[in-house]
Symmetry: C2
């Protein structure tokens, strides 16, 4: 894989052979997803909230509305963990024990801080929307000053980051190979169905195409 763990805290302890430390590969995982799970502490209780995110360079930006509970209580940033998980397939083995999931995941540890500066906020919003549909930002109405103010965005630097992945067929034991059951991988990916036009759409316009990446092992 190359690369080194970026900190002792992000060293992958469990099944280190699944660790990914190459930054390009970590970026590729981050750039394929669009919903992350953000973990933080509130009144001593861990919370995990799903929210939109996008990477720009060495930062990850998070749409902070869902995390407003956190933002309201903490100024100057908050310790957070941002996790992105892409599910690639079901690994069906001959034994229960060797069943698994093929996946790629990234864990970012750091201090999430609210973005205050207007241009940085706009760039983050552009990244969110262009991740959903490339070019969307240019096609729709831009945010007003009031909307921008009502939109909370968090920035998390990609300093402490690690990733894991599992690929390939099941790791069955030789002694299990005769079990008379199908074994292998059922690849899974998020796919788009037929677009549903808004009932208020007045013109005949073509829907955008949402393209996931190619299937993986």
């Amino acid at each position: 894989m190359g690369g080194r763990p970026s900190s002792e805290r992000t060293r992958v302890r469990r099944e280190p052979k699944r660790a990914v430390h190459d930054r390009d590969e970590i970026n590729a995982i981050l750039d394929e997803g669009f919903v992350c799970h953000l973990g933080f502490l509130h009144d001593g209780q861990p919370f995990v909230i799903p929210t939109l995110y996008a990477r720009i360079g060495d930062n990850v930006y998070v749409h902070g509305s869902a995390a407003s509970r956190m933002l309201r209580t903490l100024d100057g940033g908050v310790d957070a963990c941002l996790t992105v998980t892409l599910v690639d397939g079901l690994v069906l083995a001959r034994s229960i024990f060797n069943h698994s999931i093929n996946y790629r995941s990234v864990v970012v540890l750091g201090r999430a801080a609210a973005v205050e500066e207007r241009d940085e906020k706009l760039r983050a919003l552009e990244a969110f929307s262009d991740r959903l549909v490339p070019g969307r930002w240019a096609d729709v109405r831009q945010p007003t000053a009031k909307e921008l103010k009502a939109t909370a965005i968090l920035r998390l630097p990609l300093d402490e980051v690690s990733a894991k992945r599992r690929t390939g067929p099941p790791n069955d034991y030789e002694s299990d190979l005769a079990v008379p059951v199908w074994a292998g991988v059922i690849p899974l990916r998020l796919q788009a169905g037929e677009p549903w036009p808004d009932p208020r759409l007045t013109r005949d316009l073509d829907p955008p195409v949402w393209a996931p990446t190619a299937p993986r092992s």
Copy 2:
């Protein structure tokens, strides 16, 4: 929606109209997913780890291998947050501000405790595998005592639980309806591709069928 928040901590503060408190609906969301994000504290730092889970009655069971970092350091349970998110679609509005995601998510707060009893462990493993492929448990080799010992499983009671969902078309403002761009929902769901047989498969066996649920708005 019916039902009431199960605690002050799980009351949905942001956009309460998206709150789901009906237990049957919460269970249906939990039963559709199979990967959750488990949040917990370790050395003062929040961690969020993806892992397999399954609901049995009023408990959620989590495959604890990925959370072994947590299990090693804490006896007698640990404060945790288990979040399940199902992404149902991209909500493409005429303004950046009204872009959104259609989703269903469940948040469970509570104390995650290691399952020690053999039968309960087996039931949890059966639930994990039958969620991946119905009937899989009966078709493959059952865990040995040694494998069972090597498998960490956590139990989290469904006491403090809440859910949110967004459905339907974009909430565009009347003043944006003339923006000349397609608006609506691109439905998304996890779908199975062509199964990849294990290279070590020696017989001609049919792969199981993995069926997601029907697409939603």
